[in-house]
Symmetry: none
DNA sequence: GATGAATGAGTTTTCATTCAT
DNA sequence: AATGAATGAAAACTCATTCAT
């Protein structure tokens, strides 16, 4: 594919991401994306099969950039604790630096039609599995409690991060940085809420 | 007897909940709800102002039933740990016994139009605040780590429960009971993932 | 028919006239008329066959009251000029004293569906014919120009009165009395606009 | 070539005018207009914002063609009498040659919803003011009776013309030409009905 | 490659009227 | 006579997608 086209594809992608974030996928108009990208409506269909395809491919391309980044960062941690801590930091930083992306992913991931959702979830699993891998490895190395399912841990950790991120995203006047929540989240997930261990 | 038929109102509500869960709010058709409820399309509008109103009122009525129930159950716990444990059990039991309701609430809460979402969120906050109250009281009684924001704890706990519930709901062949995840979730949230406390 | 029913019929008629004038026939709701009349929706249909019938019969009953009144008043005039003058005064006075009625008649007479309009026009012709009769008789008595068709005269006179009445009705703050226009209208219709007769 | 097809816009306008005249604005169906114009329903909305907009713009465009034409014709008259005479002729000729247009204007001008009516009335005032101007100028030149309000004269003249035009339009088998009424109308409005001036 | 005019499927809601009580 | 709950037909408008140029 010629370079010229690649630039256009990128412009469409960037505009689409912004419009999806602003209006939500359902209310976003192809004609609005075309207008802002400076192309004709029909041109979008030369680069993307459909509106659904546009969302799916934006998501996949972004995740393909993010996942290795997060993996690399997590790899630097010397213990499971450090790795989980890095994951939490990385997640919050991504949400903070790419709010449009985060808004689209976190919100559209749950709605959209089944077709789109299934595509998104598939790619998303790769991201979530980073957590599961850390937990499993930590258990093997005796750093993580062995009596917890890595799958449940994965969901619990991501659910917590996601809920906090989402609430932060909808708070219009973001006076507070999302990363400020990281310490508390780490305490809860890594060390638990309770002071006295269960008997 | 109240104005119009209370039984008919209930039948419409039950059918609507089922159809909303199956199709999603946006794709649910008033005509389909009417057909399944055995009434004319127009009859729905004698009981509910609009499709939006139908969703909002189903949600509010259900939450008004659920919140006191959960509160009562939580109140029986003698410690913050027991109360949180009860909340987790209660949440999973509700999702398990009312999957339609849970599907509608958890999914529509994030999408729908702004008008509907705002209504839903407002009522939903009452539910989430049960967690925040437990945490705050637990901190005052020296049972919960004092260095954690109740608000962050609330979001982390609910996020974890919600993510697990949602994943369970979309797993079509529900071979496993949701409540089986409760022990692991409690371990994580109450005692943490790590074996060795942070230095 | 018992007296009790007659009172109810009249109440329905009066309320309907007011609601038709306020909202227009199309936007008027049977349920609103019923509510204001203090009866059930269905009760209206014991007295009137349909919404159309309600309009038609209000119109006919009112015209049956008005036509003899105007005829009587016109009869007192000793010349065609006096009779036409009386007709103009009478018309303006009716519009002024019964604005609801005038609004409904003048506006709905032109719209509504064909069925209704035909009914209304039929009864309305009786009213307009008062003018034609004055003109014809005036011509026979040498008071009115013989070279004018009574039918054209009838339409011209009524059209002029009607247009002025209608404009007055839509002027919300009726600071000026409609009857103040009578002298000018009489000058125009009875004596003409021009100072120098056609050559 | 202008954006989209001007020919298509015109075809839609012409068809719409015909359908509005036949069915009335309220009963006219967009789908019927589209079918007769040989376009898809949605295409109408590429050219006109809404059904209301379609009516308003047809009206305004037609009046923008008619008003200068009538003004020009009236300007040729050397006296107020001649000018009024020309106005009457012009009005009847327009109604006769464009019965669809006249039907839509005369009927919808009075009904429609407030939004539409206000738009129509505004443009219509320009037309009526031609009469007022003739009268005012005639009064200044001593050709028209000075003791008559130009506004009342305007309403009386237009009301007369309008009522006659409308009656002619609803007479289905138009055996008689509308312009045949012009001489009588001129006699009445210009010279008055009465033979003996008021004392 | 690019355009943008054209397509046409799809659904909530209102309200006059009915009829069982 | 009166009620009022129930009925169900009916129509404007949007917007993703296509395809002739």
């Amino acid at each position: 594919m010629p370079k010229k086209s690649e630039a256009k594809r990128r412009r469409i992608k960037e505009v689409a991401l912004r419009v999806f974030a602003e209006k939500g996928f359902a209310k976003a108009r192809i004609s609005e994306i075309a207008r802002q990208a400076g192309v004709a409506d029909g041109t979008i269909y030369l680069y993307y099969k459909s509106k659904d395809d546009l969302l799916i491919r934006i998501f996949e391309e972004e995740m393909d950039g993010i996942i290795p980044q997060v993996r690399e960062r997590v790899a630097k941690g010397r213990s499971a604790r450090e790795k989980l801590s890095s994951f939490i930091d990385a997640h919050f930083e991504i949400v903070e630096s790419r709010p449009d992306l985060a808004t689209v992913l976190e919100i559209e991931l749950r709605q959209s039609n089944t077709f789109v959702r299934n595509h998104l979830k598939q790619k998303f699993k790769e991201y979530l599995d980073i957590i599961a891998e850390i937990v499993l490895e930590g258990q093997q190395r005796g750093e993580i409690r062995p009596d917890i399912s890595p799958s449940v841990a994965k969901q619990a950790v991501f659910g917590a991060l996601d809920d906090i991120s989402q609430n932060w995203l909808v708070l219009q006047p973001r006076k507070v940085k999302l990363s400020e929540f990281a310490p508390d989240v780490k305490k809860i997930l890594l060390d638990g809420l309770c002071l006295h261990p269960a008997t």
